[in-house]
C-alpha cells in the first residue's frame, strides 16, 4: 500500500504523542502515528507507579493515567484527525523520508513523508552488554521485562531477587516485587552513587528496608536450569572486583537495571550521524537530525529521567516540524556548536542552527559525568570568556540538568560554546 503524509511519527510513546498533539496545534495536517505495540503510550502502560506528571500537569499521576491524558486528546473530536496505526512495525527509513512498515491488515506499507519524527524510545542494556560471567539459566530479566510480566501479563517472575543496578526501573521493580511478596535481597550498584532519581531511592528502597550496596557488582551467575545463586563482590575505583570481598547470595531471579540504550537501528541504517555518548542522533535546537526534515525526540534522542521531560521535548519538535513544513526558517550564517566541557557527559542540542525572531532563550539539557555539590554551570566562548554561569547546589548523573542559554549571548563571533561544571571551592 502506498501512502503520503506531511508528518509521520515513528513511535506512540510520550514523545510521539506530544509531537502529534503539538504539531496539530500548530496546524500541521495529514499526520500519521505508527506504533509497534497494540496500544499507544509506549512503556507508560506498564509503569503503574505514580510520579508522572508532577512537572507537566502539576499533579501526580500513574504511567497509564499520564498516557491517557494525551491519548484522550488525540482521540478527541478534532476535524484534523491524526491517523494512527498500531501493531505496525517500521522496518526502514530512507534519507528522502520514505518509510517502509508492516502490519497484519495492510501488509507492507510504503509511506512518503514530508517530515519524519523518530520517537522509537530506548531498550534496556542486557547481561551481555555488561558481560557478567557464569551460567545461562532462566531467571535473568531486565527490570523492564519483569515489569511487563507483572503489570501487563499478570505473572511474577521470581520469589527471591537480586537487583543489579540502581537505575530507576530497577528500584521501582525492587519495590514492586516486594509488594507482591517476593524477597528482594539486595540492590547492587557498581558506582559509588545511585544512577536513578533520589526520590526513587528513598521511596522504593529506603522505605522498604531493601539494602542498596554501592561499589558492588555481580561477578558470577550460577544455576543450570534456573538461577540458584550469584556471587557479588565489592569493586575498586576502576570498577574491578576486589579479591576476598566475594559473597554468595542465593536467589532465583536477577533483575538488571544497568542502563538504557536509544533504539537507533533505523536511524543508523538511514545514514544519520549519532552522538557516541547519547547514542542518539546529533541534533540542532529543533531536534532536527543531520537530514533536513527528520527530527528526533524522547529516549531515542537521549535517555530522560522523567516522562514529563520527554513530553516537553516532543512539543519542541511538534512546533519545529510546523515551522519546517511552512518553510519559515532562517539559518544562522554558521551553526554554533555546544561542546561538553569539564564533568559534562553530553549536551542536547549539540548545535544551534537558526535565527528565530523573538526567541529569548534556548533550553540546554545535559548530563554530568560524576556527582558534585555547590557547582557552577558555565558557558564559555572560543576564547574562554565566560558567557554565563548558573549556580546549582547538587548535580548527579542520575538527574538530567537543564539551563537556559540567553539568546543575546549567541553572537556571531564564537563557533563553539563550551559547557562545564565548575566546583566552587576549587577556585
Amino acid at each position: 500500500m502506498k501512502l503520503e503524509y506531511d508528518l509521520v511519527i515513528i513511535g506512540g510513546g510520550p514523545a510521539g504523542l506530544a509531537v502529534a498533539l503539538e504539531a496539530r496545534r500548530n496546524t500541521v495536517k495529514d499526520i500519521l502515528l505508527l506504533e509497534r505495540d497494540k496500544y499507544l503510550g509506549g512503556i507508560l502502560p506498564q509503569c503503574i507507579h505514580n510520579g508522572f506528571g508532577v512537572q507537566y500537569f502539576k499533579e501526580e499521576l500513574t504511567g497509564p493515567e499520564y498516557a491517557e491524558r494525551f491519548i484522550d486528546q488525540l482521540n478527541h473530536d478534532n476535524p484534523n484527525k491524526v491517523d494512527i496505526k498500531t501493531e505496525t512495525m517500521v522496518i526502514k527509513i530512507t534519507t528522502n523520508k520514505g518509510i517502509i512498515a508492516i502490519n497484519r491488515d495492510d501488509g507492507l506499507l510504503h509511506i512518503q513523508a514530508k517530515a519524519v519524527v523518530l520517537a522509537m524510545g530506548c531498550r534496556e542494556r542486557t547481561r551481555e552488554a555488561i558481560a557478567i560471567p557464569g551460567d545461562r539459566p532462566a531467571g535473568i530479566f531486565t527490570a523492564g521485562t519483569a515489569q511487563r510480566y507483572i503489570n501487563i501479563e499478570g505473572y511474577i517472575p521470581g520469589r527471591e531477587v537480586v537487583v543489579l543496578g540502581s537505575g530507576d526501573i530497577g528500584m521501582i521493580m525492587a519495590r514492586r516485587m516486594t509488594l507482591e511478596g517476593a524477597r528482594v535481597k539486595a540492590v547492587l550498584e557498581i558506582m559509588p552513587f545511585s544512577t536513578g532519581l533520589i526520590r526513587n531511592k528513598v521511596q522504593c528502597l529506603d522505605d522498604f528496608n531493601i539494602p542498596l550496596k554501592f561499589n558492588h557488582t555481580i561477578t558470577r551467575i550460577e544455576g543450570e536450569k534456573r538461577v540458584e545463586r550469584v556471587t557479588v563482590a565489592q569493586v575498586d575505583k576502576n570498577l574491578q572486583a576486589i579479591p576476598g570481598t566475594e559473597e554468595e547470595i542465593s536467589c532465583d531471579t536477577i533483575l538488571l537495571s544497568v542502563g538504557l540504550i536509544p533504539e537507533n537501528e533505523l536511524t543508523r541504517e538511514a545514514g544519520i550521524k549519532l552522538d557516541p555518548v547519547t547514542r542518539g542522533p546529533i541534533v540542532n535546537e529543533s531536534r532536527e537530525t543531520e537530514i533536513e526534515g527528520i527530527f528526533a525526540c524522547g529516549n531515542v534522542l537521549h535517555v530522560h529521567d522523567l516522562a514529563d521531560f520527554v513530553t516537553e521535548e516532543g512539543e519542541i519538535v511538534g512546533s519545529a516540524v510546523s515551522e519546517y513544513l511552512k518553510r519559515n526558517r532562517k539559518f544562522r550564517s554558521q551553526p554554533i556548536k555546544i561542546v561538553p566541557g569539564d564533568n559534562i557527559a553530553y549536551v542536547v542540542p549539540q548545535h544551534i542552527d537558526f535565527i528565530v525572531p523573538g526567541r529569548k532563550k534556548i533550553k540546554i539539557f545535559m548530563r554530568v559525568k560524576k556527582p558534585a555539590e555547590k557547582v557552577s554551570i558555565t558557558f564559555k566562548d572560543d576564547k574562554g570568556d565566560m558567557l554565563a554561569s548558573y549556580k546549582k547546589a547538587i548535580v548527579t548523573p542520575g538527574e538530567m540538568v537543564s539551563v537556559y542559554l540567553p539568546e543575546v549571548l549567541l553572537g556571531d563571533r564564537s563557533k563553539n560554546i563550551t559547557v562545564s561544571i565548575e566546583e566552587e571551592n576549587k577556585e
Binding site: R36, E87, M89, I91, K92, I100, I102, N103, R104, D105, D106, G107, L108, H110, R123, E124, T126, R127, E128, A129, A131, P133, G134, D135, R136, P137, A138, T142, G144, T145, R148, Y149, I150, I152, E153, G154, Y155, I156, P157, G158, R159, E180, G181, A182, T219, R220, E222, E224, K225, R226, D252, T253, E265, R268
Partner: protein, 502 residues
C-alpha cells in the same frame, strides 16, 4: 516401544545418522535427554565447515572432513540451511609461522584440497582490510565455509522425522539391556524400547553410555568460550580468520556468522563437569586478547552474547572413535567427535550406516535393508521476513495469504508471528523460548528477548495449550514465571479487605 535402531543423542552426529538411516525401511528412534536437539556440543561451537588441511589424511578426522566438505552445498540447499563458502585464512606474522603455513598447505594438498594458496603482502589486506597490519602471510582456503551448527542439526532432525524417524525429547537413558552379549533394549525415563541395535552418539556423555554396555573410554570436556557481536560489526572481516594452530586447537578465530554477526573464540580450557557451560572473566579476556591479535580494532561495546561450548575430547586418543563394540553385539560407538566433527558429519553418518549394515547382517539377517523409494530429500522452503527486506512485494503476497506473517514479534531480528507458528508445528516442534530462538532468531538480537520474550511466551502458551507458568526457557526446571500476581501474598496469609468487583 520397539525399534530396529535406537540412536542415543540428538546432536549433529545423532541427527545426521538418523537422517541417513531414514533412507532405509527401518524403525528408528532417536532419544535426547534435553528438550530439543543440538543442546550440547552442536550448539556451542564455531560453526565452521573446515577445508580439511589440518588433520592427517590417515586419520578419520582428515578423511571424513575432506569427504564431507564438498557435500555441504547440496545438503544445505536440500535442508534449506544457510551455508556460505566464504573461505578461511590462517594468518602468520613471521618466518616461523610461514614454515607452519607451508606444512599445513602441504598436508592439505596431500589430502586432495585444491585452491590452497599462500598469500602475502597487499593481497592479504585486499582480502581483509581490517587485519592486523603486522600480519605477513596467510594460508588461504577458499573451500572453508560458515553455517549455523544448531540450525543445521535442527534441519537434519526435521528431515529425519519427515522420513519416519521418531525423536523422543526429554528422554534419558537409564539402562541398556544386554542378553548373551547382544543388545536387546534401552531402558529410558519413558519406558523400555526393545531393540537389537544401539548407536551411541551421546557426545560428552558417550563414555557413560558406553560404560553401561561394557565399553571403556573416557570423554574429558574441553571448554571453549565465545563472544558474539551485534550485526553492525558483521562486516569487520570477510573470511574466517585463524591464528597459527597449535597441537591442542585451531586457536581463537574471528569470523562473520551466516546471520551477519561477528563471532570470536574459542579458548580452550579443561573442565571437570560436563554441564559446565559457564563463561568466565578470564575466558572472556583471553578470547578478546586472542581475537585482537588478528583484528586489533574490535569493538568494546555492542556485545550481544557470550556463550561456551564443550568439546567431547576423548582421553588418550587423537581421532574420532567410530566402531562397533567388540564386547557387545549391536552396539556402535560414535564418540570423541570434536573438531572437525561438524565438518565431517555427513561422512560420519555414511560410515556409521555402513557399519550398521554389517552389524545387522550378522545379528538380524532377517531384516532386509531396502532403500525406501519415498525418501524425501528436501525440506520445504521456510520464508523469513528478515530475508525479504529488499523484496517486500514478495512478502506482501505471503502476508495476503496469511496475516500472521505481517505481525512482527521480534523487532531486533524482524521475526513474524507466522514464522513462530511454523516452528511450533514443524516435524520436530519447538516447545521452549530457546527452541523458538534457535529456529527463528527471535530473542537473539540486541535486546536479547527483552521486548519479545513475553510475546513469544504467550504464543507458546496459546499454541501448546499450557499455562504461561509452564512455559520454559530450555525444558523442565527452567520455567520463566513463578506465580500469578497476588498469589504470593495470598499464600503468605495476607487477606484482601475487598476483592475487586467489576
Amino acid at each position: 516401544m520397539k525399534a530396529d535402531v535406537v540412536i542415543i543423542g540428538g546432536g549433529v552426529i545423532g541427527t545426521s545418522i538418523a537422517r541417513e538411516l531414514s533412507r532405509y525401511s527401518l524403525e528408528i528412534i532417536l532419544i535426547e535427554k534435553e528438550d530439543d536437539v543440538a543442546m550440547g556440543t552442536s550448539k556451542g561451537n564455531s560453526g565452521i565447515i573446515h577445508a580439511g588441511y589440518n588433520a592427517d589424511f590417515k586419520t578419520l578426522k582428515g578423511r571424513l572432513n575432506i569427504k564431507s566438505n564438498p557435500r555441504f552445498d547440496k545438503l544445505c540447499q536440500d535442508l534449506k540451511v544457510r551455508f556460505k563458502r566464504i573461505g578461511s585464512l590462517v594468518v602468520g606474522f613471521n618466518e616461523q609461522d610461514m614454515k607452519k603455513l607451508r606444512e599445513l598447505k602441504k598436508n592439505g594438498v596431500k589430502n586432495g584440497i585444491k585452491n590452497l594458496e599462500i598469500i602475502a603482502g597487499n593481497k592479504l589486506f585486499e582480502l581483509e582490510p581490517n587485519l592486523n597490519p603486522q600480519a605477513k602471510y596467510a594460508l588461504y582456503a577458499p573451500s572453508a565455509g560458515i553455517i549455523s551448527p544448531y540450525k543445521f542439526t535442527i534441519a537434519l532432525a526435521d528431515s529425519a522425522v519427515t522420513n519416519g524417524v521418531k525423536i523422543l525429547l526429554e528422554t534419558e537413558v537409564k539402562d541398556i539391556r544386554i542378553k548373551e552379549r547382544q543388545i536387546c533394549g534401552v531402558v529410558t525415563s519413558r519406558g523400555l524400547i526393545e531393540t537389537r541395535t544401539v548407536i551411541n552418539a551421546a557426545g560428552l556423555y558417550a563414555d557413560e553410555i558406553a560404560k553401561i554396555a561394557g565399553d571403556s573410554f573416557k570423554i574429558s570436556p574441553l571448554k571453549g568460550e565465545y563472544q558474539l557481536f551485534d550485526k553492525q560489526w558483521g562486516n569487520l572481516v570477510n573470511h574466517i580468520l585463524f591464528p597459527i594452530p597449535t597441537k591442542l586447537s585451531k586457536g581463537i578465530l574471528v569470523a562473520p556468522t551466516v546471520h551477519g554477526n561477528l563471532l570470536i573464540g574459542p579458548n580452550s580450557c579443561r573442565v571437570k563437569e560436563k554441564d559446565d557451560l559457564s563463561t568466565t572473566k578470564a575466558g572472556i579476556k583471553e578470547v578478546h586478547a586472542g581475537a585482537r591479535k588478528l583484528i586489533p580494532y574490535l569493538p568494546h561495546q555492542d556485545l550481544i552474547n557470550s556463550f561456551a561450548g564443550l568439546r567431547a575430547d576423548i582421553e588418550g586418543g587423537d581421532d574420532f572413535f567410530i566402531e562397533a563394540s567388540k564386547k557387545v553385539r549391536g552396539f556402535i560407538n560414535v564418540a570423541g567427535i570434536e573438531s572437525p566433527g561438524l565438518s565431517s558429519a555427513p561422512a560420519i553418518a555414511e560410515i556409521v550406516s555402513d557399519i550398521l549394515k554389517e552389524v545387522i547382517k550378522e545379528i538380524s539377517p532377517q531384516l532386509e535393508l531396502n532403500c525406501k523409494d519415498d525418501f524425501i530429500e528436501t525440506l520445504p522452503e521456510q520464508p523469513r521476513f528478515a530475508d525479504y527486506l529488499d523484496k517486500t512485494d514478495e512478502w506482501q503476497e505471503i502476508v495476503e495469504k496469511d496475516a500472521d506473517y505481517g505481525e512482527i514479534i521480534c523487532r531486533c531480528e524482524k521475526v513474524s508471528k507466522g514464522e513462530m507458528l511454523r516452528v511450533i508445528y514443524q516435524p520436530l516442534p519447538a516447545r521452549s523460548l530457546d527452541a523458538i530462538k534457535r529456529r527463528t532468531r527471535a530473542g537473539m538480537g540486541r535486546c536479547q528477548g527483552g521486548f519479545c520474550s513475553p510475546k513469544v511466551l504467550k504464543i507458546l502458551s496459546e499454541e501448546l495449550k499450557v499455562s504461561s507458568l509452564g512455559i520454559t526457557k530450555k525444558g523442565k526446571g527452567s520455567e520463566i514465571l513463578k506465580t500469578k500476581t497476588k498469589d504470593m501474598i495470598k499464600q503468605a496469609g495476607v487477606k484482601f479487605k475487598d476483592e475487586v468487583r467489576v
